[in-house]
C-alpha cells in the first residue's frame, strides 16, 4: 500500500475516533467562551427577592428564626448550614438554594443553583476538572487532532491544490494576524 493510502486510512480512522470528542469540546468551547459573572456555562443561577417576618429588635437570630424563614418562604429542601455574614444579614444554606435574610427588615434574596443538563458534564470534561485519567484522554485527543490536521495536509492532491493551500493559509493567518494586530 502506498504512503498516500496509509495517510488516507489514518486520517479517516482518526476522524471517526475524534468525532465524539470534537463535538464535546466544540459545544463546551462555545459555552465556556462566554463565561462571565452574568453567565455560568455549567450552572443556572436564579435570584429572587422575597419577604419574611423581621426579627424582633433585641433578639438574636437562632435556629427557630431560621426555620421560620424557611417555612415562610415555603422552602422544604434539606437544610445544610447557616452563617451570620454581618450583624444585619444571615445566610441560610439549603440543598440547591442560598437565602440571605436581612433580619431587621425581613427582606430576602434567594439564589437557586442548578446544574445545566448535559453542559455540566461536558464542561467538566472540557475544563478537565476531574484531572487524573481524563488528563491522559485529553492529551491523547489533542495529539490525535494534530495528527488529523497533518494527515489532512498530506491529502492535498494536485487537483484543487491552489484552493487547499489558500484555505490552509487562511487557517494559519487567522490566529497570527490576531496576535499581531491585537492591542497590547
Amino acid at each position: 500500500m502506498s504512503w498516500r493510502k496509509w495517510n488516507f486510512v489514518l486520517h479517516r480512522d482518526l476522524g471517526y475516533l475524534c468525532i465524539g470528542l470534537t463535538l464535546l469540546y466544540g459545544i463546551s468551547g462555545l459555552a465556556v467562551n462566554h463565561t462571565s459573572h452574568a453567565f455560568n456555562p455549567s450552572y443556572t443561577i436564579e435570584t429572587q427577592k422575597g419577604q419574611v417576618s423581621p426579627l424582633p429588635s433585641g433578639k438574636v437570630p437562632d435556629m427557630s428564626y431560621v426555620n421560620q424563614c424557611l417555612a415562610e418562604l415555603s422552602i422544604t429542601a434539606q437544610f445544610k448550614n447557616v452563617a451570620m455574614l454581618n450583624p444585619e444579614t444571615i445566610r441560610i444554606f439549603v440543598e440547591g438554594n442560598t437565602i440571605d435574610v436581612i433580619v431587621a427588615t425581613g427582606e430576602t434574596i434567594k439564589e437557586k443553583i442548578e446544574r445545566r443538563p448535559l453542559l455540566f458534564g461536558i464542561n467538566y470534561l472540557h475544563l478537565n476538572k476531574g484531572k487524573g485519567t481524563w488528563t491522559w484522554v485529553a492529551d491523547i485527543y489533542a495529539l490525535a487532532i494534530c495528527l488529523l490536521a497533518l494527515t489532512g495536509l498530506f491529502m492535498i492532491r494536485s487537483k484543487g491544490r491552489r484552493r487547499a493551500l489558500f484555505l490552509t493559509t487562511i487557517g494559519f493567518l487567522c490566529p497570527l494576524l490576531y496576535l499581531l494586530l491585537k492591542p497590547s
Binding site: T35, H37, F39, A83, T89, G96, D100, I109, I113
Partner: protein
C-alpha cells in the same frame, strides 16, 4: 443487546461526572496536620505572610463565574477569608456553599490602589446586593487571602 449496553454505559458515564462525592478532594493533597484559625490569620496577617497554612471552616461564597475563589467563614463572627486559586487549576463547585472545607495554601497580601479598592467594593455590592459606602474607602488598601493549593470539601 449491544445498543442497550452502549446506552447504559453512556448514562453511567454522565452520572459518574454529575454525582456529588461525599468528600471532594481538589488540587494537591493536604500535607499539614495543624489547623490555623482564620481569626489568627486575620488578626496577625504579617506573621503568616508567605507561609503555608491549613484552615477549615464553612464555605459562605463561591465564585459564580469560574469557581476560582471561595470565602471561608472565620471562627469569629462576621469574619471571613478569601481562598483564591489559579483559574482552572482548581474549580470550586457552586454547590459547595454551606459545606465545610479544609484548605491548604499560602497566605498572601493583595495591595489595591484607592480606585481598585472602590471598583472591587462596587462590584461586590452589585453582585451581593449589599450596601457599600464607597466614601469609607480612602487611600490604598491591603487585604490578605490564601492562595489555595489543595482542598477537601465535606
Amino acid at each position: 443487546m449491544m445498543k442497550k449496553n452502549s446506552l447504559f454505559l453512556l448514562v453511567l458515564f454522565f452520572l459518574s461526572v454529575t454525582t456529588c462525592f461525599a468528600t471532594m478532594q481538589l488540587g494537591a493533597p493536604l500535607t499539614l496536620q495543624e489547623v490555623t484559625k482564620v481569626s489568627e490569620i486575620n488578626k496577625h496577617p504579617d506573621q503568616y505572610l508567605g507561609k503555608q497554612v491549613l484552615i477549615e471552616g464553612l464555605i459562605i461564597n463561591v465564585c459564580a463565574a469560574r469557581g476560582c475563589w471561595m470565602d471561608i467563614a472565620s471562627d469569629v463572627p462576621f469574619e471571613k477569608i478569601k481562598i483564591k486559586v489559579v483559574d482552572g487549576e482548581i474549580v470550586f463547585p457552586l454547590e459547595a456553599k454551606g459545606q465545610t472545607a479544609r484548605v491548604e495554601g499560602i497566605v498572601e497580601a493583595v495591595h489595591l490602589t484607592e480606585d481598585q479598592a472602590r471598583s472591587m467594593a462596587r462590584h461586590h455590592a452589585e453582585k451581593s446586593g449589599e450596601k457599600v459606602d464607597l466614601s469609607t474607602i480612602k487611600g490604598p488598601t491591603t487585604y490578605y487571602r490564601i492562595r489555595g493549593l489543595g482542598a477537601e470539601i465535606n
